[in-house]
Subunit: 228 residues, 2 copies
């Protein structure tokens, strides 16, 4: 399995009992508002915040949303071969960080256009996957390739291909979240009925973050929907 | 309708054609890593970023997730009267910003405990509502009051009550997102069958952000689910 492991997802150090991890202090050393030094304060119940020693500005760090599309065309699934690290050379669905001025669906369509030069019609939300260990929350949509039904490699992509469900290269996927979503997608395809899914990826300490055996799927809620 | 309007949601200035809005420059004036000044650069297609003039660190701003619960108990809905601004004195469902080390469902349960001292069982994701104008993405869950079935006001809450669906004070709700979610929730209750919803709130320029008439619901995707 080693060949399928890459450092795609950086697991942050767990907080120690006595305070935040050492790395926490490096996140915000200077105030982005006034330039003074930052202190680390306990807001209560060991909720650590970065606070400016001068103007008291609090620099919040919140989870980032990753938005993307499972794109279907004539029964096949569109995947992109990554042209950049992390996981250069591995396959994934088109996805990326949501921008400030867009919706999750709009961001997912934008990422698909940037990475695969493909227009899509968003069909339904499909899988919401939280990954607390890396502060990310994935929102993946079911979608269909739209006119003019073409695709090609974007600047950060080495290759784009349509895969039959049986041929999805699970051992060469970039991210555990994508692997989980595609496994359920193919299961739903075979079932002839789609579900909506919501779950959490719990990374196991001490293993490569996207090793197929280094996580547990937790609190998986899934519901069959009436129509798609 | 004026009495129900409060400045709960700050609509950011739209970007001008020639560059980012003036306020953009104030978001990040100093580098949080090295303390040097920040410049504003165009990453392409007028995607503006804050970049350090010294170490080239990019200070990204991404949407923040707001997570919360629609809590049901014996056919009634739990609402909290806000004890802090924005919208002090208005009613809402328990919700707040998701923290870095938690899941959406975990964060929604935590917020419910903080604001209403209530334990909940999360039943299903219910409404995902993006609000691009304020860089927020709401994830609201259906949930049930859990043992010991008690609730009381948290430190940021003036009152907590269970409302019959017909008695939900829509004219005294704090946020447009909560108003939309509760209207659909009550519709689904009457329908006897729940849906999952995903939509976007488009704020209309020039009006108070959470005026009941100051937004449009866009790209609403909704699906009836088989069981709850």
């Amino acid at each position: 399995m080693t060949s399928s492991i890459c450092r795609s997802e950086k697991v942050s150090e767990p907080p120690e009992n006595g305070g935040p991890p050492d790395s926490f202090h490096k996140w915000s050393k200077f105030c982005r508002k006034c330039g003074a030094g930052m202190s680390v304060v306990d807001e209560g119940d060991k909720t650590w915040r970065h606070m400016c020693i001068n103007c008291k500005y609090i620099d919040y760090f919140n989870p980032k949303m990753v938005v993307g599309c499972i794109v279907e065309h004539e029964g096949r699934i569109l995947l992109c071969k990554r042209g950049i690290d992390p996981c250069k050379g591995k396959w994934t669905v088109p996805a990326g960080f949501m921008e400030l001025d867009e919706s999750t669906a709009g961001g997912a369509a934008r990422e698909t256009y940037e990475e695969a030069a493909a227009n899509v019609e968003i069909v339904a939300p499909y899988f919401h996957l939280d990954i607390p260990a890396i502060g990310q929350s994935y929102v993946l949509f079911r979608s269909k390739l739209a006119e003019p039904y073409t695709f090609s490699s974007g600047t950060e992509t080495l290759d784009v291909k349509l895969f039959e469900p049986d041929a999805v290269p699970f051992q060469e996927l970039a991210f555990s979240s994508v692997s989980i979503a595609l496994r359920h997608y193919i299961e739903d395809l075979r079932d002839g009925r789609f579900r909506v899914h919501h779950a959490e990826i719990e990374k196991l300490p001490g293993s490569a973050p996207n090793d197929p055996h280094s996580f547990r799927l937790r609190n998986h809620m899934q519901f069959r929907i009436e129509s798609s």
